[in-house]
Amino acid sequence: MIPSDHFVRFYNEVFKFLDERDGLQPYYEEISRHQEFHCLKEFREKGLQGVYEYYQKIRVEENCILRITMEKDRMVSFMDRCPSLSKVLDCDAEPCAKYCEHCSGWSIPLHTKAGIYYVENMMGPKEPRCASVRTESRAVAEQAVADFLASGAKVEHIFSNLDRWEEVEKNKKEGRRP
């Protein structure tokens, strides 16, 4: 058994293997399908409240230093210390340079299916912190991207599903709770 505590260090080995074979993206999609099992229903039915509740659980179980605020039209989160990248940086094996990308890699397809916009500022591949905005409003998501860039974020560190906005809107209409 790989202890659940050490999963991310194994994950890091998997990423390095897949990156050498240009195979990360299909794997992220598979992990995203697996994550649907844990949270898609809640995200679809409860919208942002479902996302909020899921991340409150994650905050505790994964020992995150995470601030989440719910506003009228968005959920804003600041991961001040990401336990996942922190463990990968505190590891005798070399970190995968793309390690952080897995988070948006699985989150974007899942949020898109739930009809929720996802915007993340990764900050940097060796910085165990990030910021993100989830919203049901395309305009709010676009503003979040603009705000991250205005704050000095690098374009390559911004991840969002805005390029899939039609799918987000369609899924929002079809899947949202009554």
Partner: protein, 148 residues
């Protein structure tokens, strides 16, 4: 002393992601590739255990086995004698959690034990073996070549 000290909250759902990953790698790249990743994990992630075993020192391996099966509330028995370590796991915490989630354990689920153990022992006087006796029930044996 353990290289990776973990003593805070557990996120057991990671066993589900491991299970998905085992299937994904085996299905897309083959079982030998999966074994390669797991062995490398044993050698490089658990470098301190590996290096100690190369010097004949199993102290961190013992601590690792005991702490993480205890921490995840496994049912197990660890028996140590000169040159031999036997860990019998009666109820594997990973498989127990997969069943709790309603997930089917991967046909490769036990490779995470056998191959990581083998990776930790590579190029050392220690050899590892895993006998699977049933779902969630195995005997992991580490034997030192000189028996001391």
């Amino acid at each position: 002393m353990l290289r990776y000290q973990e003593n805070n909250e557990l996120h057991l759902d990671f066993h589900g992601t491991t299970n998905t990953t085992l299937n994904y790698i085996a299905d897309h790249y083959g079982v030998e590739a999966l074994k390669g990743i797991l062995r490398k994990t044993g050698r490089e992630v658990y470098k301190s255990i590996h290096e100690k075993l190369q010097k004949g020192d199993a102290s961190e391996l013992l601590e690792h086995l005991n702490w993480f099966y205890f921490r995840e509330k496994g049912k197990y028995q660890l028996t140590v004698e000169p040159g031999k370590i036997v860990l019998e796991v009666f109820e594997c915490p990973a498989i127990r959690h997969l069943r709790k989630l309603g997930l089917e354990p991967s046909p490769h689920v036990c490779l995470q034990t056998s191959e990581v153990n083998a990776g930790m022992c590579e190029d050392s006087p220690w050899r590892s073996e895993v006998q699977v006796l049933g779902e969630g029930h195995c005997i992991q044996t580490f034997t030192k070549e000189d028996g001391k």
